[in-house]
Assembly symmetry: C2
Homo-oligomer: 138 residues x 2
Amino acid sequence: MSDFVVHNQLLSDCAIVGDADLCRVLLMNDARFPWLILVPRISGLRDFHEVPSEHRPSLFVEIESASNAVKELIDADKINVAALGNQVPQLHVHVIGRLTNDVAWPGPVWGVGTSVSYDSEVQQETIAFVGAAMGLLS
Amino acid sequence: MSDFVVHNQLLSDCAIVGDADLCRVLLMNDARFPWLILVPRISGLRDFHEVPSEHRPSLFVEIESASNAVKELIDADKINVAALGNQVPQLHVHVIGRLTNDVAWPGPVWGVGTSVSYDSEVQQETIAFVGAAMGLLS
């Protein structure tokens, strides 16, 4: 995993929360939704099914842990989990907490309206909350 | 799993392809994209992370098998995998083959334009292809 780097576009859109066993965890800089992105720290992955068998249990556990964190953040009604990667080829898994009255409901969040940057204090609090909830190394 | 039934909305939008070990596999009736939906045959699941640990390896294998099938169907450039469930609460995983010149690229497919029903012969051929590629029981 030594040559692993997060794609520039993800770094530009997100703040780094920390590392779980397999994934680097990012917080999308869009205060409208609690939106985490998990990037497996393995170079060269594009599609979800390319995750090697030995790492799949960790990915699932980390999706669960991220789901629970975003659920707690806003008492989410639903969690959206997706590996799309049409715009950024590096495999990354979106974990997004949804409310039935959020601005995109019941549609998906991608491409809806304009993202709203976090207030810097709220962003730091959110990062701290997610890092603690997921037990991440920062 | 005895009281498992596929949600009516999914049955209305899709044709049934067959059963893998864990999931019932459906083909979305939209000829614009090779679009499979995997529904774990366990009652009461809503979010992706609710899949019990002992069934997670099967889900991953079936996502892989579905991904390979849609990839072969159109020599897809990218596979989109997603569990959204904002409109249908029953857990279902979308596996969609994408081309860089399809009508929704590079956005997600949900809510884009109007679905195009399969010609019935093409639909049957597609179901047969996917069933064989995934080794499904029909």
